[in-house]
Amino acid sequence: MAILANKDVQPLTAAQARHHAATADRRTRLFNRCCTGVLIAFALLWLVPLAWALDTSLKPNGETVNPTWVIENPTLASFQTLLAQGDIINWYAASFIISALSAAGTVVTASLAAYALSRMRFRYRWLTFWIILMGIMVPRQVLVVPQFQELGSINLLNTYWAVILPAIPIAIAVFVFKQFFDGIPKELDEAARIDGAGFFHIYRRIVLPLARPAVSAVTIFSFVWAWNDLLWPLIALSNPEIMTIPVGLATVQGTYGIRYADTMASAILGALPLVLVFLLFQRRIVEGIAGTGLKG
C-alpha cells in the first residue's frame, strides 16, 4: 500500500470519489480495449512464421518461389514424399521411445527419492539433499565431453540408452515432487501406517495419487525436454536409423536444397507431436512453469 502514498492522491469526499471512479472506469475500459487491440496485432505477428511454414509446405516445390500466401495448386506431395522416404518415421520412433522412457524414468525415480526425502528419517539425509541440490546448478551441456567418454567405454553410444539414461536423473524433478509431498498432510501416512501399510504402499496408493499435478508437470516437462534436446543426442547418436527428430532435421538440413516445400513439410512434421502435446496439456504446462520456473 505504501506504493499508493503518492503525492497527487488526496483524501476525497464521497461524491468526488464516485465521480473519479466513474471516469477512471471509462478510461480503464478504453485503455483495456486498446491493449487488447495491440496485443492481437502482436499475437498475429507471432503466428506469421508458423503460418508461412504451413503455407509453404502445402505448395508444390516449384511454386515456393511465388511471393504470395495464395497457393495455386495446394498439395500434400511434400508430406507424402517425406513419409514415403521413411527417415522421418524412424526419427519419430526414436524420439518417441527416448522421450517416453526418459519421462517415465524421471517420474518414477524422482518421486521415489522425493518421498524418502519428504517422509523418512535417516542418516545423511541432509547430505543427500544437498548433493541432489547441487545437480540443479550443473548445466548438462558442460558434461557432454566426459559423458561421451563414459558411455563410449561401456559401448552404449549409438543406442537409445545413451540418450535415455543421462536424461532420467533430473534434480529439479526431485524438488518439485518433494515440495508437493511436503504439502500433503503427514496424518494421512500415519493413519495408514497404524493400519500396517508399508512405505511403498503409502507412496503408491496415497501420496502419489494425491500428487497428480506434480506427476503430470514432471511427465510433460521431462518428455518435452527429452524430445527437444539437440546437443547430447547429436553427439551420442550418429547412426541415421536411430536419430531423434531434432538431430535428424539438423543433420539433413540443407540437403533438401531449394525444395523449400519439402523442408517446411519436414519442419511441420517435426513440430506436430509437440503441437499436440501443447494443445492437450496447455493448462498443465503453463501451471508447471508458473509454479516452479522450470526451464530447459
Binding site: I3, L4, V9, L12, A17, H20, T23, A24, R27, C35, T36, L39, I40, F42, W46, L47, W52, V108, T109, A110, A113, A116, R121, F122, R123, I132, G135, M137, V138, P139, Q141, V142, L143, V144, V145, P146, Q149, L165, P166, P169, A171, Q179, Y203, N228, L230, L234, I245, P246, A250, Q253, T263, M264, A267, V277, I285, V286, I289, A290, G291, G293
Partner: protein
C-alpha cells in the same frame, strides 16, 4: 523462486531432527511405538533413493568429477585413458586462445542482444494480456507455442524466412523499400538475425512467468487506486511493475543463464559462421572436443564455462537475498 523455496525446505531438516529426539525420550508406550515407526528408516530410505541416486551419480556427478579431472590431463578422444598429466596446461591454453575469447564474446553479445527484448516484450505482452478481458488462451497459444517446438524446427522455419530474395522477411523488407541485409551471411548481421529468431522462439516462457506473477497482484489494489482516481497508466507504473520485481529478478537470471547456454540456433542456422562470427562457447567446446578430439582441452573450457554460469547464479542469489527483507 525455485531456489528460495528449496532453501526453505533445507531449513526444515533441523527441526525434524529435534522432533525425533523428543520421541526418543518420550516415556509413554505410544511414544516408543512412534519411535519405532518414524525414526531410523535407513533401509527403506536407501531403497527409495537408490534408483535416482544411482543414475544421478553415474551420469551427472560422475561425469562432472571426471570432466574436472580430465581438464588437468592431455586426454584425447582417440586414445583410451586420461593420457599425460597436464597441470594447468589446458586452462592456460584455453585462456590464451583467441578462439575461446571470441566465442565467449559472441555468447555474451548474444546474451546482450536477446535478454532485454525477451524481458521487456514479455512484460509488456503480459501487462497487455492482463488487461484483455477475453482470448487469453489465444495469446498463450501465439506466444507460447513456439517455445515448445524443437530448435531444429524453429531453425528450419527461420532459415526459410531469411532466405535471400525468396524468404518472407526479405520480401517484407524490400517491399518497404529498404535494401535487404544478408540475414545470415553477413558476419555483423548474423547474430542479430539469430537473436530475432531466439526472441520469437523463447519469449513465451517469460510471458507465462509474468502472467503468473500478475495473478499474485491483489485485485483490491487496482480497485482502491481506481477509487483514488488513478488511471491505468499510473496503476501499471506504480502498482503492477513494482510488485513484479521478484518475478523480474527470476526472469532476468533464468534468461541470462539460458542465453549463455546457446548452441542449437547457431549450430543449425549458421554452423557458427560466417567465418566463426557466431560460434558460441558451447560450440567451441563441441568443436575442440568432437572435431579436434581434444577432450582435455574441451573439459577445461567446459569447467571455465561452468564457472561463468555459476557466478551469474551466485550473483543473483546474493542480490535477491539482499532485497528479501525489504519485500
Amino acid at each position: 523462486m525455485a531456489s528460495t523455496e528449496v532453501t526453505g525446505q533445507a531449513g526444515t531438516v533441523a527441526p525434524a531432527r529435534t522432533e525425533s529426539h523428543t520421541t526418543r525420550s518420550g516415556r509413554s508406550p505410544s511414544g516408543a511405538e512412534r519411535e519405532r515407526r518414524w525414526s531410523g528408516h535407513g533401509k527403506p530410505a536407501l531403497l527409495f533413493l537408490a534408483p535416482f541416486l544411482l543414475l544421478y551419480l553415474l551420469f551427472i556427478i560422475g561425469p562432472a568429477i571426471y570432466g574436472l579431472v580430465m581438464s588437468f590431463f592431455h586426454t584425447s578422444m582417440v586414445n583410451p585413458g586420461l593420457g599425460e598429466f597436464a597441470g594447468f596446461g589446458n586452462y592456460a591454453e584455453v585462456l590464451s586462445s583467441s578462439d575461446f575469447w571470441a566465442s565467449l564474446w559472441h555468447t555474451i553479445w548474444f546474451t546482450i542482444l536477446t535478454t532485454p527484448p525477451l524481458i521487456v516484450l514479455a512484460l509488456v505482452f503480459a501487462l497487455l494480456a492482463e488487461r484483455a478481458r477475453r482470448g487469453r488462451w489465444f495469446f498463450r497459444l501465439a506466444f507460447f507455442l513456439p517455445y515448445i517446438l524443437p530448435s531444429a524446427v524453429v531453425a528450419l522455419i527461420w532459415i526459410w524466412m531469411y532466405t535471400p530474395e525468396l524468404g518472407l522477411l526479405s520480401r517484407a523488407v524490400t517491399s518497404l523499400g529498404f535494401a535487404e541485409p544478408d540475414w545470415l551471411g553477413d558476419p555483423d548481421f548474423a547474430m542479430v538475425s539469430l537473436a530475432v529468431t531466439t526472441v520469437w522462439w523463447t519469449l513465451g516462457f517469460n510471458f507465462v512467468l509474468y502472467l503468473a506473477g500478475l495473478q499474485e497482484v491483489p485485485r483490491e489494489l487496482y480497485e482502491a487506486s481506481a477509487i483514488d482516481g488513478a488511471g491505468p497508466w499510473q496503476q501499471i507504473r506504480l502498482i503492477t511493475v513494482p510488485l513484479l520485481a521478484r518475478t523480474t529478478s527470476l526472469v532476468v537470471v533464468l534468461q541470462i543463464i539460458a542465453s549463455l547456454k546457446v548452441f542449437d540456433q547457431m549450430y543449425i542456422m549458421t554452423q557458427g559462421g560466417p567465418n566463426f562470427a557466431t560460434r558460441s562457447v558451447l560450440q567451441y567446446i563441441f568443436d575442440i572436443g568432437f572435431t579436434d578430439f581434444r577432450s582435455g582441452a574441451a573439459a577445461a573450457a567446459s569447467t571455465l564455462f561452468f564457472i561463468v554460469v555459476l557466478a551469474v547464479s551466485a550473483f543473483w542469489l546474493v542480490m535477491t537475498r539482499r532485497q528479501e527483507p525489504e519485500l
